[in-house]
C-alpha cells in the first residue's frame, strides 16, 4: 500500500489530503485571525490586525491563576500516574504476567465510562463524609489520573515489552544488582524516553479536560477550560486569544512528543 501514485490519480489523492487538512485547519485559522483582528463583525474579513487581545489576556490575573491551577493539577495527576503506574507495570510484567489481561480490561473503564457518568457518583461519594474532596484540586488530580491511565499504561507497557525486561533484569542480577537496584538503575533509564512521550501527550489532552473540572470543582479552583467557559460573555476576540494561547501549548507538547518519538530507537 505504500506506493506513491502518478498522474491524475496522484492529483486526486493530493487534493483529498489537502482538503482534509483545510477542514481540520479552518476552525483554528478562523480563531487565529479573530484573535488578531481589531474588530470583525458582519463582514467576511476583519478590518485590521492587532496584538492587544493577547496583551489583555496575558496581563489578566484571573487567567494567569487559572492557567497556574491547570498546570498544577495536570502535573500533580501526571506525577501520581508515574508513581503508581511504573511500579504496577514493572510488577505485572516481571512477577505476574497473567495480570496483564485483567489490567487491559480495567484500563478500558476510564475510556468506556464518560466523565459525566463518573461525576454523578463522585459528587455523592466525595461531597461530604470522611473525604470531602469536591471543590478541591485533589479530586481533579485523582480523576485526571484515571483519564491518563489507559494511555499511559499502554504506552509504557509497549515500551517494556520492547525492552526485553526478563533478559535485562537477569543481566543486572548476574552482575550483583538486587531487584530494586536493577529496576531503578537499569530498567528505569531505558524507559525514560517512552515515559516522556506518554507524559507529553497526556499533558496535552489533560490541559483540555473540562467535564470533571466544571462539574466537580467549578469556580472554587478555576482551571483553564472552566475559565474559558466562564468568559463566554466577554469579547469574542479576547476568547479567541485564549483559545489560540491554549492550543499553542497543546501544539508545543504534541510536537515535542513527536520529536522524541522519532528519536526513539
Amino acid at each position: 500500500m505504500r506506493r506513491a501514485e502518478q498522474g491524475p490519480v496522484l492529483l486526486y489523492h493530493r487534493l483529498v489530503v489537502w482538503l482534509l487538512f483545510l477542514i481540520l485547519l479552518l476552525p483554528l485559522a478562523g480563531t487565529l485571525l479573530y484573535s488578531l483582528a481589531t474588530s470583525w463583525s458582519a463582514t467576511v474579513l476583519p478590518s485590521g490586525l492587532t496584538l492587544k487581545w493577547y496583551l489583555a489576556l496575558w496581563s489578566d490575573a484571573r487567567f494567569l491563576s487559572a492557567f497556574g491551577h491547570s498546570l498544577l493539577v495536570c502535573f500533580g495527576a501526571l506525577l501520581l500516574s508515574v508513581l503508581l503506574i511504573l511500579p504496577l507495570l514493572f510488577v505485572v510484567h516481571y512477577h505476574f504476567p497473567r495480570l496483564d489481561g485483567l489490567m487491559n480490561v480495567l484500563i478500558l473503564l476510564p475510556f468506556a465510562i464518560p466523565p459525566v457518568v463518573s461525576s454523578v457518583g463522585l459528587l455523592q461519594v466525595y461531597g461530604s463524609g470522611p473525604l470531602p474532596l469536591i471543590g478541591t484540586p485533589w479530586i481533579l488530580i485523582g480523576c485526571y489520573f484515571t483519564v491518563a491511565l489507559p494511555f499511559m499504561y499502554r504506552a509504557i507497557s509497549n515500551n517494556l515489552l520492547a525492552l526485553n525486561l526478563r533478559d535485562l533484569m537477569d543481566a543486572a542480577r548476574v552482575h550483583g544488582a538486587s531487584t530494586w537496584q536493577a529496576a531503578f538503575w537499569v530498567v528505569l533509564p531505558n524507559l525514560r524516553k517512552g515515559v516522556m512521550v506518554a507524559l507529553f501527550l497526556s499533558f496535552s489532552f489533560l490541559l483540555g479536560e473540562f467535564v470533571f473540572a466544571n462539574l466537580l470543582v467549578g469556580t472554587r479552583y478555576e482551571t483553564l477550560q472552566v475559565y474559558l467557559n466562564n468568559m463566554r460573555n466577554s469579547s469574542g476576540h479576547f476568547n479567541s486569544a485564549l483559545v489560540i494561547s491554549y492550543f499553542f501549548f497543546v501544539l508545543l507538547f504534541t510536537w515535542a512528543a513527536n520529536r522524541l518519538n522519532k528519536d526513539l530507537p
Binding site: 481540520l24 476552525p27 478562523g30 504496577l88 510488577v91 480495567l106 463518573s118 489532552f205 491554549y246
Partner: protein, 290 residues
C-alpha cells in the same frame, strides 16, 4: 486453564519477593478504586434506589417522560450521523493519505493528531466565530448563496461540530487499517480485468470492514458521552443525555442524583449494547471464520 500455564515459570522470583511485589500493586488499586470503581458502583446501586427502597422506578420515570425520551433520541441521532460522516471523511482521507508522498503524509498525520485535542470548549468557541449567526463562514456562504440560514445551535449544527471532532479520531484509528490492503491484490484484480469499482466492492471494502465497524463503534461511544462541546455551545440548553445527567446533579434546581444515576446507567448500557453488537458482528465476520 491448562496445566503448563499454571506451573511456576523457571524465572519465578522468591516467595518473599512476590509478596513485596504484590504490595506494590496496592497504592494503584486503592486510587483506581477510589476514583473509578467507587463512583461507578454508587451510580449502579443508586440508579435502583428510591425513597421506598429498591425499585426500577427511576428507569420507568425516564422512559415514560417525553422530555427524557427526546434527550435520548437527540443523543442517538447526533451521535449516529456525526459518527457516520466522520467515518466517511476519515475513510476517504486516510486512503488518500496512504497514496501521497511521505512528506505531505507525515505532516497531515501529525496535524490530525494535534487537532484531535481540539475539542470541547475551545472548539465550540471556534465554531461560534466561524459558523455562529454572524460567523465569517456563515456570512461567506450566505453571500455565495449556498445556504439560506444556518443555525449552529440546532441539531444540524451539533452534527456538524461533532463530525469535526470525529474526523481526527477517525483518521488516527483508520489509517493503520489500510496496511492490511496489499498492493498486489489491486494489481492482480486489475490484471484479471476488474474495474476499480469491483475491486473496492469485492476486495477493498470487505477487508476493511472490521476496522470500519470498530472505528464506527468508538466514534459512536465518543459522541454519546461528549458533554463539553454541546454544553459550551448551547449553555446546556440543548436537550441531550449528558446535559440532562449533569443538570440533575449540578444544576440550580431539581437535583435528583438517583434519576441522574438511572440516566447514566442507561447511557452506559447503550454503549455496552453497541460493544456487544460489535463483538457479535466481529465473530461472524469473514476474518474470524478463517
Amino acid at each position: 486453564m491448562t496445566a503448563p500455564a499454571r506451573r511456576a515459570p523457571p524465572w519465578s522470583a522468591p516467595r518473599r519477593g512476590r509478596w513485596l511485589a504484590a504490595l506494590c500493586l496496592l497504592p494503584f488499586a486503592l486510587v483506581f478504586f477510589a476514583f473509578q470503581i467507587a463512583p461507578l458502583l454508587w451510580v449502579a446501586v443508586n440508579s435502583l434506589q428510591t425513597a421506598d427502597g429498591w425499585s426500577l422506578a427511576n428507569f420507568t420515570r425516564i422512559l415514560e417522560s417525553r422530555f427524557y425520551r427526546q434527550a435520548i433520541s437527540h443523543s442517538l441521532q447526533v451521535s449516529f450521523w456525526s459518527s457516520l460522516f466522520g467515518l466517511l471523511i476519515a475513510l476517504l482521507g486516510s486512503y488518500s493519505l496512504h497514496r501521497v508522498d511521505s512528506r505531505l503524509r507525515d505532516f497531515v498525520n501529525a496535524f490530525a493528531t494535534m487537532t484531535s485535542n481540539f475539542a470541547g470548549v475551545p472548539l465550540a468557541f471556534a465554531f461560534i466565530i466561524l459558523l455562529g449567526f454572524n460567523g465569517a463562514l456563515t456570512l461567506l456562504l450566505r453571500q455565495i448563496g449556498w445556504i439560506e440560514d444556518f443555525n449552529l445551535y440546532s441539531k444540524t449544527g451539533l452534527i456538524v461540530i461533532y463530525t469535526y471532532f470525529q474526523i481526527p479520531l477517525g483518521v488516527l484509528l483508520l489509517y493503520p487499517a489500510f496496511d492490511a490492503l496489499r498492493e498486489d491484490w489491486r494489481e492482480s484484480a486489475a490484471l484479471l480485468g476488474a474495474s476499480t469499482w469491483r475491486y473496492w466492492c469485492h476486495i477493498g471494502l470487505p477487508v476493511l470492514t472490521p476496522a470500519l465497524v470498530g472505528t464506527f463503534v468508538i466514534l459512536l461511544a465518543n459522541a454519546l458521552g461528549a458533554y463539553a462541546t454541546v454544553y459550551a455551545l448551547t449553555t446546556g440548553n440543548f436537550n441531550i443525555v449528558p446535559i440532562r445527567i449533569a443538570a440533575l446533579v449540578a444544576g440550580d434546581i431539581n437535583l435528583d442524583p438517583w434519576l441522574a444515576s438511572a440516566l447514566a446507567m442507561l447511557l452506559v448500557g447503550l454503549m455496552a449494547l453497541i460493544t456487544l453488537v460489535h463483538q457479535w458482528l466481529l465473530r461472524r465476520s469473514y476474518h474470524a471464520a478463517r
